[in-house]
Symmetry: C2
Subunit: 374 residues, 2 copies
Amino acid sequence: MKLRALKTPAALVDLAIVERNTKRMAERMVGLGCRLRPHVKTHKCAEIARLQVRGHFGGITVSTLAEARFFAAAGFRDITYAFPLPINRIEEAANLSRRLDALNVLLDHPTTLHELETHAQRTRVSFSVFLKVDCGYHRVGVEPDREESVSFATKLSQSPHLDFRGILTHAGHAYRCRTREEISRVAGQERETMVAFADRLRRAGVRIDEVSVGSTPTMSVTDNLTGVTEARPGNYAFYDAFQAGIGSCSLSDCAFSVLVTVVGHYPDQNKLVVDAGSLAFSLDPGPHHTDPECGYGVFVTMDGRPVPELSLFSMSQEHGQVRGKGRIDFERYPVGSQLRVVPNHSCLTAAMFDRYHVVRDDEVVDEWSPVRGW
Amino acid sequence: MKLRALKTPAALVDLAIVERNTKRMAERMVGLGCRLRPHVKTHKCAEIARLQVRGHFGGITVSTLAEARFFAAAGFRDITYAFPLPINRIEEAANLSRRLDALNVLLDHPTTLHELETHAQRTRVSFSVFLKVDCGYHRVGVEPDREESVSFATKLSQSPHLDFRGILTHAGHAYRCRTREEISRVAGQERETMVAFADRLRRAGVRIDEVSVGSTPTMSVTDNLTGVTEARPGNYAFYDAFQAGIGSCSLSDCAFSVLVTVVGHYPDQNKLVVDAGSLAFSLDPGPHHTDPECGYGVFVTMDGRPVPELSLFSMSQEHGQVRGKGRIDFERYPVGSQLRVVPNHSCLTAAMFDRYHVVRDDEVVDEWSPVRGW
């Protein structure tokens, strides 16, 4: 089937680019002496996860228990649930843990530790546990500079009912960068914070087997992972306009796009309207700090060349409003014609679709289905 | 089942409020002498559409062909597809049209008219067609003040292959209002623009049976629909924090909320984290023009009372970060405790869930499933 025959809006995955992105990251991590435990939350589909783990040990990272169940059913045996474990879902996690080689969970709060220990003691299901650390993003995690973080790690490591594996962080503040140089500095901080904290814990007698880091920007740019045992980037399988905007990749590395159809011309407003809005793209405002005019994505032609004169400046539920940066040549974009849009945030946009159309050049070669929900 | 036993994040529909909202709008429209053709894109589920059409003729409005098929299968016989018909979906619309009393489509461009006529001529499937009019929102539609809009309507009405029904608009600019008085002015403009354009067309010899208007803000506030034949509000079934912010409703009219669980405490940042982020809520920034500090929704207790001291100020894919407006009393929100959030935009948030938990007080009495996709 040809790309042009698809109903729109349609989610397109360019297979050659996914293969290149996943191979490159796998080789990068081998070169840096670090195991790759790719995050799969961007695409949530088994086929891409299988490409991501090639050349590594097969472990993956998920963001929900629905993903954990889905990937367990698809044959993945070592899964890190990289979200502070909600205490009302311990039972579910335990059920999953029994069926896997490892279900690694994270926590940063004494209540969660207490509930997990109580459950493990009662059921004799042991969890593999990471301490979540804040390396500067300030979303979740313990502060590595605090004495109480050392005490908490000590207590965690001494639990007879839990298998304490080590420390884990996510340098989400890399998304605030503007250049590769800035990302590189955040990557340095991520590594150094974690290695220093691991050393401090070891000096305090805490055994730390794993030092886990990872974000797509930092892992795409760093050239030093000394002291880090595993990396957990995920978005790099697709990349997106945000990553290209901050310098993690170039636009030609973006493997995910949305196929749209022009449904209206509004020359008085120098505007087109396309048949994809916030229910197709989600509403991530994108890298406004590098380009206040970035809109909700980047238009590309059917064969992937940028169309810089068009900007997806506004969306409602099903309408995408497209402004010309100069005067639009409406004859180039007739009503009924198609365009592709590389979204700002491929994780959120991909989640709006029940299936991906896998394309090679202009041929649809497969359909893949992501999991959704919690 | 009790509300508290649900896994989170969970989508909650308060049935008593939906019943009240739908009854009130149905009665409002009867009182104003106007047929109600409710939009169903907010909830996309048959059970709520059935409540919406009570006391009216049974016609509904949809935003996608997937919705049209779903509601056709659920027994709805008169459906308006309120989006500029994409020409590559005419065949699909025709197939659906054959099975219904009416599938009304809209257009505002000569290419769409040409393609629709050609299709109708070839297949002898006649479409019921509306001309989309711009009443000041400036998203799509023809400009009613232009001579060429009259010519286009004339041409459309004279097509031997199409059943021209009339004119249709959506006053989406009502969402930019700050008060009921401002909404009332937009409602006046919406009605007056359409009635004047209908008169102008009639004077030009064009038969106009239908004058269709509608947005939840304008239909919640207006007290005059003279000359209007049908209204198409939809969001009012749920309302949301945005509608409450601009004055369409009060917070206690909001029927849709997301149940979340506290997963972390960060006293240094005066912050909680909950287990729902942009994949649960979508990222609608809300009524920033009325409240720059509005965050991504409004916290309410399990029984619906506002919690004004908490603000959902930042989200990533699965994390919701909650700041205190004053100092958070963390003991009130222990790790593992639950809260509800009335989202900024119920249409986008509801679409993130595969099922709604229907609640009466603190009892889950049913589960309803929305359609998704295109």
